[in-house]
Symmetry: D2
């Protein structure tokens, strides 16, 4: 079968190789991968800047969807022909987070491959109304967004930053739950699309570098109840301005390097900060039920064919689009 | 009547003055103050280093207890002779935190005085088994601790830092709820007393500067589920070492200056951080019910007579004791 | 001023009398009532069948809205000219339910009068976009519905029974929070209107006496996650059929006499049952914020002039309409 | 191997038979059973009065503990030699209750046998400090009690009824969490033992048939916050007297036949009623952690040897003891 692995070299982020199709052990499924999707962490993995060491030859990507092609002994949850998608944490099935564990693309091979063998407990069913390309966007970005806005309702104002995969899903999920959503964006076109997805107001963070105060003003002068924090140290200072007294911040990544959180300002705001660790498979299934119920459609920026996987990484690196970048097999 | 106000000068933190006994307006009580207690914020208030400006002549101290000496028109919650204690937030009666508002010792006169007129909604009844000196310790330190360990139970391991007022109350409340409690201390004598109050283990943070790793080890090698963070930027780095993956930190003060929270380490720990904003009067009453039910006794370090109030501030400044410093009238 | 009181006689449910305009005591407001609304309990009160004794001459109705005409000493929450509405429980301000206490129309005079003096803590501000007639529908029916569907979200299926005041509000609030709503009705016209308000499906409980099974089928064959139970003993048997395993029932009234709940069937369903005790003033204010945010409009069946108050009771007794019956002053 | 199955006849509740030792399929464990325990439902199963049909030859008992004797292909959670105990619901691993499913002793063979083959996901590890006899008491009774008192804390008053397995565990768990516990009992000796386990007060329900009022009085005249309801229709009327306004009842069984719940009294009490469906394996593991942490010891009434299993049923039928009846292999 055809598989991509991290190159470790400068020319391309990933290189194609031939590997034998794996045989599913007891309790495992062989999945014919039909689509995979990119996330911010994949940039770090292929560029050698991830916080944990990535061994040479590792297959990247945590997010994929496909068809069960064969089942090992004792499999009960799925049958050949079922459509499944990956859980971001292959070993976190339910209950509270207790550590990052082994992850695809780092400690184990990921989904940028024609076939993958995974334990049946590590995957979930694909919602009926979704294509494989759409389903592949869910494991990391959608579940992160789902967990980040957990518990919001019709009385809440939520701020999402930009129009990357997590932010767009957070906007969609918060709207489903009746919350008011504000967004930041640097592009009038994206702002327009965010409004079409349900954002009440969009603040241009380039033209308004002090966007925290602007958001606060739009949020009844009181500030947002919940902020889905994408930028980490790079943006959290503005977020503290945008946040309501007693508000909370969901920390979904820490992309910017350097700096930290000013605890004095945090304390004076009476704020709360919660790391979003994606979610368990049980969380994934609950999210999928809601996605299915509401026939929610993921926003896909662009789909690349499997043969052009390196181009997908290059395109994603520029970060110009809105929503998810997907590779189709 | 005799009252103390902030001196603004170098000689003494507070100076006595004579003021007329106030007359309670409609809805207000006149309270004959019988005891008042000191908290970390009072050090900043009398030394002119508090984050908000303190006008000259301000009467300090948020925490006091006394007897209702007279009632204004329309008072229904209390009668003359009732024993009452102050709520830290005079205007936060119930519901979630929505801002710090006007506070005693800063925007309004506090409890270091023979008589104070307060709205009946701003105070709570003193638990029957407590003296006024004990009751005066509750409004800020006990309620902060109560809120900080909210929700812990028999499955949790809690870490408290040192043996100041908040830490000792947090130890007591966490033990009441069945949690396992670890503590840090620099003194063998205090460590002994913390153990007597129910701490399972005490780590000497002077002899073990990397106390975070030591706590982690004692907490089943997994780390504490909840840390009551007193030191803020000064200790939070060790706290991140001591914390379990997915654990939470209650931020009850930010006494140390400089520095901040490393968001990358925070994220990798899957941590949550929550500002403890003391609590509403409704929270105070619930805490008092539990204190009454379990006949919990506050730990008092030392009681000073009213005439020696400046000595109480000087003693508290040194921070050598365990539990609360109280002034008795 | 003109006031209605319970007649105790057979001719009319309420009779007009003249009374002096009350003078607001300290902490109290004098409210010029502009509208009042009827609830199921008012039928029992005026007909002498309420569970607690109603003294002769009692002024009925818990629900009203009006303008502050004068304020007593020490009032701080409102000013003359402010628009206010009643809290159903005049003395339940915040925190959990601890008993029914003194209620309008039973232990104290209610809102079917030109002027009423109430403590400032017993009322809440009227949402800006609502008329007095609309505001008067909120204290009992809307808050009951709000509490009954508390916590539902985009993954839940909710069943409401019929098209009375509580049921229509429950439909509206559940839809705001993203839930799927099913309803029962005996009238095709009402069914149409319930669908227009967001009900996915409406079951005709006259043509389908076994509507429980029909609802179960519509709810993915699994049953409703939450049922807002209006009929009590009269309908709860069908509700147990309609309920999902592990589902919950909000008990908002027990209008039908006789019978009870079959605990064996309840147990086998793994069900939960919760009395809805309307809510505190704090709950009312939170609901009002959401109503204001979403500019939700109460559904009013019919408005009667003050002079025709007895007709309003007679009309309400027939229960033919959809939504609330209001009296305008 | 030696196994007991339901006799279906009048002479004995269970009869011994010889069966081949099962071979564990993929994902399954072969467990050498070392102890099993009886629950109220087992009486119904062996007497043919259970609510679902029990096929002839069914092996009874949901609760057992033993040693892993062999593992099937693909097993990852346990190894040969591990000590395990059964989960009451073999297929409910995590998440909310969604139906009773297939249960031991009814739809599938149970634990009153020398060897049983079960899926590795259906069992949990035995806490280190417990014997097999003690461990066998946990799956149904302890987890039911754990779920029944979920969320109680130092401010709550809990009532347990009698001294059966669930009641004694509920007393122990509620005490661990700091709650005050009241109990009912008909025997002075048992009352003494309940007090030794931490009950504050014990009411004799034989000498005080109106024990509801007595409990209410003991609970500060206010009533219990939570009642662990064992008797169902037979006792729930007294429970409504014993309950605080706004209190909740955990329904753990409905042993008494006939009658039902008076919804009018329930409503006036502002009560909540929740079916306790034992719990998932995830709940079981969390409970076991706490049992291990606090080295809690189950109260065992009497242990019978495997050969005397019918005597155990006969003894249990009389219900004279306190705590659990166990069969040791």
């Amino acid at each position: 079968m055809r598989t991509y692995q991290v190159s470790g070299g400068a020319d391309a982020p990933v290189v194609p190789v031939e590997r034998p199709v794996p045989v599913p052990a007891a309790g495992h499924l062989l999945v014919r991968v039909k689509a995979a999707a990119l996330n911010a962490r994949d940039r770090l993995i292929v560029s050698g800047t991830y916080t944990a060491p990535v061994p040479p030859g590792r297959v990247p990507l945590s997010d994929g969807a496909g068809v069960v092609a064969a089942v090992g002994d004792g499999v009960t949850r799925f049958r050949v022909g079922d459509r499944v998608l990956s859980g971001f944490h292959p070993d976190w099935i339910h209950g509270p987070f207790t550590g990052w564990g082994d992850l695809y693309g780092v400690q184990r091979d990921g989904w940028l491959t024609e076939y993958i063998a995974v334990h049946e407990r590590s995957v979930a069913a694909v919602p009926d109304h979704l294509s494989f390309e759409e389903a592949a966007t869910l494991p990391c970005a959608a579940l992160t967004a789902w967990s980040a806005v957990d518990g919001v309702g019709p009385g809440d104002t939520v701020l999402v930053q930009g129009s990357g995969g997590v932010s767009v899903f957070a906007l969609q999920f918060a709207r489903l739950a009746g919350a008011r959503v504000l967004a930041t964006s640097s592009s009038p076109e994206k702002a327009e699309r965010l409004r079409a997805l349900g954002a009440s107001e969009v603040v241009d963070y380039v033209r308004t570098p002090e966007w925290g105060a602007a958001v606060r003003e739009l949020a009844d002068g009181r500030g947002a109840d919940l902020i889905v924090e994408i930028g980490g140290a790079g943006t959290v200072s503005q977020s503290l301005d945008a946040l309501a007294d007693g508000g909370r911040i969901s920390l979904v990544g820490n992309l910017a390097s350097g700096g930290g959180l000013d605890l004095t300002r945090f304390f004076r705001r009476g704020a709360a900060l919660r790391t979003i660790t994606v979610g368990s498979r049980s969380d994934l299934e609950r999210m999928n039920q809601v996605i299915g119920r509401h026939r929610l459609r993921p926003v896909i920026d662009r789909v690349f064919p499997f043969a052009a996987a390196p181009d997908a990484f290059a395109y994603f690196e520029k970060g110009a689009g809105m929503g998810k970048v997907v590779i189709s097999l």
